[in-house]
């Protein structure tokens, strides 16, 4: 299914206008539409994204897509959002939940917000799930996107908050593996002491631009934590940790299968 045109976008997406064409997080469909004109070339021609298992994405209601994270710059997040947009009917926007330092970045924070991104506070996450939105998260966080080439496809520390909130707000978690991004822009080194505007590090990539690797995005079967546990279980650290470990294992299995099936990086 092709990506929608920018004109179609506002009509196709379920958009909660807070009164002036923006939602309460600053999402502005026309800005996403304009951005789509540019990034669709990355999706369709540069990274030539192949999608597998998109039927696992819920057609309606809330849900959390949890994926591996990599690539020096979070282009994998952009491709994941576009892939969900391209392969859902009715169209769905997987609101990307980004790290807390992102809103401090000039231009970047505002641009992400206009395109549907949301700062990853517990309150924002809760609000989205209560509103029946689909959200995409990268439980590896910054250590994932900052992993070096030698650590590709090795899942880093795995946060647990997405499972806690999925249980509490009665939504499934959809594991996803993004194959290709981990080779797109090999990271040679990083300066952790460089913290301008709260950025966690300064990346030193091996190439001036991301390589035109082929992305393959695999979605796994939804994990119905909300059917297995009552809402109160979200306060049980053991249940939440076990759930997060299960999501991590599911993503690792999807990565493993995806790597086995692919014939080449490009």
């Amino acid at each position: 299914m092709p990506l929608p045109s920018s004109d179609e976008l506002a009509r196709l997406l379920r958009f909660r206008d807070a009164g002036h064409g923006f939602d309460e997080f600053g999402f502005h469909p026309p800005t996403l539409g304009k951005s789509l004109k540019v990034v669709r070339h990355l999706y369709e021609r540069y990274f030539r994204v192949q999608s597998h298992g998109a039927h696992h994405i819920p057609r309606e209601g809330g849900g959390v897509i949890a994926a591996n994270h990599s690539g020096t710059l979070p282009l994998d997040g952009v491709m994941l959002v576009l892939d969900v947009l391209a392969n859902t009917d009715p169209r769905r926007l997987a609101r990307p939940v980004f790290d807390l330092f992102v809103p401090r970045l000039p231009f970047v924070g505002t641009f992400f917000a206009r395109c549907g991104g949301v700062s990853g506070t517990r309150g924002n996450f809760r609000r989205l799930l209560e509103a029946g939105e689909l959200v995409s998260v990268f439980p590896e966080g910054v250590p994932g996107v900052a992993k070096t080439f030698w650590h590709r496809y090795q899942l880093q520390g795995w946060r647990v908050g997405h499972v806690e909130l999925a249980i509490r707000h009665r939504v499934p978690v959809i594991p996803a593996a993004i194959i290709g991004a981990e080779e797109q822009w090999p990271l040679l080194a990083r300066f952790d002491s460089f913290k301008l505007f709260g950025a966690p590090y300064l990346p030193i990539p091996a190439t001036p631009f991301p390589l035109p690797v082929r992305y393959r995005i695999h979605y796994g079967e939804p994990i119905p934590f909300h059917e297995e546990h009552p809402p109160e279980a979200s306060d049980d650290p053991a249940i939440v940790a076990a759930g997060a470990a299960r999501v991590k294992a599911a993503v690792a299995a999807l990565i493993s299968n995806g790597l086995r099936e692919r014939e080449g990086i490009f």
Binding site: A18, H20, E24, F25, G26, R104, T110, G123, R127
Partner: protein, 321 residues
């Protein structure tokens, strides 16, 4: 409620509230309190149900005379306290006396009063701390701005808010604190109003936070709804208009000029020296960078409040209210 005392009656929210109360069938009398000799034309002083009392709330003896005089005679059962110092630049003990001590004193006198049963305190969205790590929608439980270096304007508002909050459950009164979004109007202490008074609005380059604005009518309606219930506690009261700061400038027909953040403090200092405005960059630095909107879920569920009326955006370059 049969009779209501409203302080800060000459402010936009005070005047709107008095008009709403006079239209409410269950209200027989409204006692309006202000510091001005002439309350102006905003108050319908010709209405038989309204009396205006000129009282300096920083003088406890005057307040006592009001509370145990006209208030007792009128059988006032609810007090709405909205009076606060408006200027961001004035500082010192006198300002603190009005912002905090007058609130404390009024509350204590009402607790000893034979007829007053309900106390509504109009607080501000400014009491919350601006932080990128907080949710975009601020609930009532989010941290307050208690950092030691905040300007007196904010510190006083937080202290007054907490002064009232600490009496909840201990006081014989039913206490309600309404943290109201910014009213974009003159004489309301709105920093944004003053910011928009200039033909050129400088804001930090690369940042365009969302803001929420409330009309005086919606703010007044929230108070009336709070008066009609027995609900106690803290309630956020957001407005109908949620939009980016750049859009506010555009709708106000001003020139939006993003400038590098480090230049803004000296530029606004020069602006204040040149044209003597009330806008203080230091007070607003947080919200010129961070989206902080009030989450009105609790007010919706408990008080039945929904923002209905957009603010009056100007149709030309003259500004509006």
């Amino acid at each position: 409620m049969r009779a209501v005392l409203v302080t800060g009656s000459t402010t936009p929210i005070g005047a709107a509230l008095i008009r709403s109360l006079l239209e409410a069938p269950e209200v027989e009398r409204v006692l309006a309190v202000g510091i001005e000799l002439d309350p102006g034309t905003d108050l319908p002083l010709g209405n038989a149900g309204l009396t205006y009392h000129r009282v300096d709330l920083t003088r406890e003896r005057h307040v006592r005379r009001l509370i145990f005089g006209p208030v007792r005679e009128a059988g006032v059962d609810a007090v709405v306290h909205t009076a606060l110092h408006r200027s961001a630049h004035d500082q010192g003990k006198a300002v603190h006396r009005l912002n905090v001590e007058a609130t404390r004193s009024l509350l204590h006198l009402c607790e000893r009063h034979p007829t007053v049963r309900r106390f509504i305190y109009r607080s501000f969205a400014e009491v919350y701390r601006h932080d990128h790590e907080h949710p975009s929608l601020i609930g009532e439980g989010e941290p307050l701005e208690l950092r030691p270096d905040v300007p007196q304007r904010v510190r006083d508002r937080v202290e007054a808010d907490l002064t009232v909050c600490t009496r909840m459950g201990m006081s014989p009164l039913q206490i309600c604190v309404l943290r109201v979004a910014e009213i974009l109007a003159p004489q309301s202490g709105s920093q944004l109003w003053d910011w928009l008074a200039s033909p050129v609005c400088l804001r930090p380059l690369g940042f365009d936070p969302m803001v929420n604005l409330i009309s005086a009518d919606d703010a007044a309606r929230a108070v009336v709804l709070a008066l009609r219930t027995d609900a106690q506690g803290v309630f956020n009261v957001p407005g109908r208009d949620t939009l980016p700061l750049s859009k506010v400038v555009e709708l106000w027909h001003r020139l939006d000029v993003p400038a590098p953040g480090p230049l803004l403090r000296p530029l606004y200092w020069i602006r204040r020296l040149a044209i003597g405005t009330d806008f203080r960059y230091r007070l607003n630095e947080g919200r010129l960078h961070t989206s902080d909107l009030l989450d009105g879920a609790r007010a919706r569920e408990v008080l039945g409040y929904e923002p209905l009326r957009s603010i009056d955006w100007p149709s030309n370059g003259t500004g509006g209210s």
